[in-house]
Every structure is written in structure tokens, then in C-alpha cells.
Symmetry: D2
Subunit: 192 residues, 4 copies
């Protein structure tokens, strides 16, 4: 089995924002991806999450949904580099593109544009019992929308929310300098 | 396969300090534990790291080294609960207890008492080529000792150091309140 | 002049939550309290903010608004200890108690119960031109309510929001151990 | 009196690293600068700390010690802009330049090159009884050197060390995006 935890530098990313390694690891582990899982990666960006998910689910399928041409090209290039043949690339602005997908075991949302509530509405009936939805966000508004949705649907979902701040100690000569990554909220939701 | 990412509440811990879930996940992923790996868990505490390592290495062996009686009892109880039969418990204060172990693919150090330098000296010849050593620490002194050791042995090791701060959003009535965990340094070292 | 930056231990606090020193310092400096300022401290708790404000405004007046008996007793005791004679104590649940106060140069909100929107509505016409309102909060909901209010009243207010995470290095024997305080959001708002 | 807490944008800084507002505020408050204080600002950089110190000590004197030409020019320009006439600029690499200064009430160290231990040795006899020394640092090595010095001189000094992580919520359209500043260690030391 390949390892979870690909280094950031191994992905082609150009100027597209990419979930950093530690956040990727935590999000994927919290999504509890089984070897035969069906996974949606919404707002797939560079495809880094999709590719690691595909390695965790070698008998499953990962749907990488991304709206931009630049993103689509990067996902294609990265999936080829890592021979992640079970990554299916869908160019669409979610929730468009989700209707025809098979039911999901895990949904990861890294980018939602301004349509998070619609995405959550669309994804909920597609998520299997005990399925998990993991949201990464950097804005207070997105966090709040997700929490409000989960509180409103507390008969369906349980959620856990954390904020993760990773600081790298960059080696500069004889020093190790603290360099902060931006803090990310990770909301993990599972169907009761 | 069982999942990585056991919830903190699933371990029996009494008053023994325990590495929290997110730090456990990151440390184990950074240690790149293969299914047949030989792993040392030094300062095993409750055994939470050993048990998750044992699930990642079902054909391997995990040596849980712990000096206190209380810890040993907890490791035994937790290993039984999770039927982690490949956890070998060794009551010793490291570096004692390490000499006779088979060469390691991965070494996790969560507690080192005041003997970190000795432990690093002892572990280095036992760590296989490309093997990984992952240190968790909460004190500046322990971090610094590890960094100094790695810088002194830069012909043998490469290291990466990060600080991880996890804040939980605790659900209290209609509110989500930020509750900080203590920040942890994770130093990942690998033989060139 | 007395110094800003009283140590936490110098206040009597019993079990009442208290804004920690660094957050107190930043909130008071961001409130730009002039020597003759009229200040409201809403949800005054132990009175720690009121007392430091009173020292910054020796010719001004600080209104400490607090609903609980326990808080009122603590504010009284702490104000006496620091001979902060320009602290006026008002037992009320804000926005009650605010109507009759003189116009404010600075308003600090540390505790708002569940009535933040009402408090902001009531305080806005009482805050002088160029006056400053500083909110401390620990929940996402309170932060979001404040931001939404400020965005809705963007013709009146400009705001700056930060999150501050302080970690103490506690001296334990020969070690300095990282102990996290809970992160606090500080929203600073000023009338254009 | 002018206010403590000048905004970062009000300083001319070009490419010189500058202590950010919140760290400046905390460091200056922890240094307890009296109106007639003698202050050293070692590694003065843009002069931002010196200028705020000069406003806190209108009857005192602030010595801005800086080695680079670029820094010296910035300090001069910023001091002129803020008419901080009690800032005395000394071009030297500390501890050079310190010998002839009058005894200090407060010493702030923001940049120490690689000569921190020498600086601490030189500054200690010049710091008055109850005087305060405040160090800002971003590297583990500098933090450790300061802590080791203070522990070695525990008959002379008491210290408090904190790490401060400030995250700005940047307003981007309808969102508030978390943007981390690098975490800074602030070590406050005072003579018993």
C-alpha cells in the first residue's frame, strides 16, 4: 500500500491554493475512507486530496469536482503523476455535477465558492448511512454556514469542529524559524 | 482494515497524559508505518500510539516501552480492548530495554523523561535505512535537544519540525466555544 | 501614572471567568482610552477590564455593567483593592442599564449573554464620533453576530477582527512547558 | 498623550522586517515604560518599537541601536514623521554601542543577530534594579539562549515566556479570511 502523507512539493500546483499536508492528512483520516469507498472531493483544486483519497480507496472511486480550467488541468497532471487511475474528474461548479454520482461514503469539501448551503442540501441525501462529510474552511462565514446547517439537521448529523494551526520551523542557517500556515477549520460530520 | 484515528474517549486513560487524536494521527502518518513494520513506542503512556501503530502494522510488531506501573497497566488494558495482539509491552526506562529489540522501521517518542539524548544515541544504530523517528514534545528543552542532535548528525538524518495547535469548538447550548489543546511540537527525522 | 498590564493573580476572581492579561492589554489599547474618557465595560465579570480602564482614564468614568451578584461583589472588591474610585458599578443585564449613561468614548464587551445584537443596537447611538467598540469573544456565533452587525452598518462602522492565541511557557523544574490559553477573537470597531 | 498602538501601515518599512502591532503593544506594556524611562531598543529595525517607546516616555530617552544603513535611514524617517525627538539613533552592532549609554529602565531586544548571549551579558549590569528586559524572537535557538541565560542568572532575574499567535480576519468581499502572522515568543525578564 502507498502511504498517506504525500509531501506538498510532490504536487504540481502553480498558483492554485492547495490544502497543506497536515490538513490533508487530518481531513482524510477523519473522513474514514475504506478501501472500496466512493468519495466526492468538492472544489478539488490541485487534486491533492483526490489523489490521496484514491490511494486510500484502491477499489473505490474518487470524484474530483472542480469548476476552473486551471484546476482541471492540474488534477489531470497530478493524477497522471501518481497513477491515480480511480480519480474521475468532473468539471462543474458544485452542486452541479453531483446529481448523477453514485451514493457517497465520504465527501470532502475544500472549496465551495459561495454555494455551500446548496452543496450541503444536495450532498445530504447522497451520503450513505454512517457516511462522513469533512469540510475545510478558512473563513468564518463558511464555518458558520456549515455549523448552522448541522445544527438545523441535528436529527441527521453529528458534527465535530476543530481549528488547526500548523507552524513550520524553517531551517535557516543555524536557526529554526517559526513560519505560520494559515489556520484551517476542519468540520467533520457523520450521519447518525 | 481498521481505521486510523481512534477517538480519545475510546482509550482508558485515568490520569495519565495522552497524546490527543490529531497529534496521534499526524505522528503516525509521518512515521510512515508499513504493514510489516517494526515500531518502537518510547514513553508509551496509555498505549494509544502503540495501538494505532499496531493496526497500521498488522504483520509487524510494536514495542511499547514504558517505565511506570500505571502506564503498563493501561497499555495492557487498552491493547486487550482493541485486541492489538502485536503490541509487545516492555517495562523499562528507555534507553534501557532497547538493546535487544530487532531493528526498527519507525520509532515514536512521546515521553523521554530527561534522557532524550541517550535515547537518540541508542536508537540511531537500531533504526533501519530510510527509517523514521518521530518525536512529540511540549517543552522547549526537549525540542531543542532533538534539533541539536539532528543538526549534529546531519550526515545521517534529515528533519522536519512543526508546531501543531488544535482548538476544539465545544458545543455548549447554541454556541461553539473555542477550547485550546496545548500546542505540540512534532519533529520527524529520517535516515538519508 | 500607574501601568497598564496588571498581572492576573492580582485580581480576586474566585470562579468567575476573567479576561487574561494579554487580551486585556490588547483590548484596552485598541479601545484608545483617553485620560478623560467615558467607558462602558459590558459583562464586566471580575472588573479586571474596568479597573485597568479606570487607570487609563483617571479624569474619566468607567461604567461596569454586570448582571450577577457574584460579579458585582468581585468588581467592588477589586475596585477597592486598586482604589479605582472612578469605576461606577451597575447591576443590570445589558442592554438594560445603558439608556441613562452619558455618551461613550469607548465600549468594551466581554460578556453579552445571548443579547449581543440588542446591545450593539443600543450602544451604537451612544458611542461618540470616532468612538471605539471592542468585543472579546470565544464563540464563533458571537464573533459572527458582531461581524454581521458591522457589515450591515458599514456606513457607520469600520472593523478589524483578529484571533489571539497566547501560550504560556510554564516553568516546571528544568523545563518550560507550553500551556495554551483559549484563543480569543478581538473585534475592534470604530465610527467613521 | 498620544496613544500606544500605532497601526503598522503608518510606519515606513520598505523590506525591513517589522514587529507587528499586537506584539509591539504587548512588548511595550510588559516593559513597563515610565514617562521618564531610559530605554534601549536593540535591533531597532524600522524604529517602530523605539517610536512607541518614545511616546510612552516623553521625559525619557530611547536609544535605537541598529547596525544596517537601511534600518538607520528608516528609523530616522519614522522618528521624523512621528516627531519622536527623544529617540537617539546609534549605528552599531550590539553589544557594541551599549557601553557608554546611561543605565536603562527597560531594554527591548527585537533583533540580536547571533550575539544574544553577549548582549545579555552586557545589558545586565546596565539594567537598573526592577528594570525590565523584553525579548521578541521567532527562532527556537534565540528563545532557548534567553531562557538558559535567565535560568543561569536566576539569582538576578525572574522571567515569564509566552508565545503569541495573531491571526487576522482579512475582509475579502463578503468573507472574513483567517491569515496567520508568524508566532512570536515574548520573554519578559525583570531584576528581582
Amino acid at each position: 500500500m502507498d502511504f498517506l502523507g504525500i509531501a506538498d512539493e510532490e504536487f504540481i500546483r502553480q498558483d492554485v491554493p492547495m490544502t497543506k499536508q497536515e490538513i490533508r492528512i487530518l481531513s482524510l483520516v477523519k473522513a474514514r475512507i475504506a478501501p472500496d469507498a466512493v468519495v466526492y472531493d468538492i472544489g478539488a483544486g490541485t487534486g491533492s486530496i483526490s489523489i490521496e483519497a484514491a490511494r486510500l480507496a484502491p477499489q473505490g472511486e474518487v470524484y474530483a469536482i472542480e469548476r476552473s480550467n486551471e484546476g482541471i488541468n492540474l488534477i489531470r497532471a497530478n493524477a497522471a503523476n501518481f497513477t491515480a487511475s480511480n480519480v474521475k474528474i468532473i468539471q462543474a461548479e458544485a452542486p452541479e455535477g453531483l446529481a448523477d454520482l453514485p451514493p457517497a461514503d465520504a465527501v470532502l469539501i475544500g472549496g465551495s465558492g459561495s454555494r455551500l448551503s446548496e452543496i450541503l442540501e444536495t450532498v445530504t441525501p447522497k451520503l450513505k448511512e454512517k457516511g462522513r462529510l469533512v469540510l475545510n474552511c478558512i473563513t468564518v462565514q463558511t464555518l458558520m454556514q456549515c455549523i448552522e446547517f448541522m445544527r438545523k439537521h441535528s436529527d441527521t448529523y453529528v458534527y465535530e469542529a476543530i481549528q488547526v494551526q500548523v507552524t513550520r520551523l524553517q531551517q535557516v542557517g543555524t536557526y529554526d524559524m517559526a513560519k505560520a500556515n494559515n489556520p484551517i477549520y476542519i468540520v467533520t460530520c457523520w450521519k447518525k
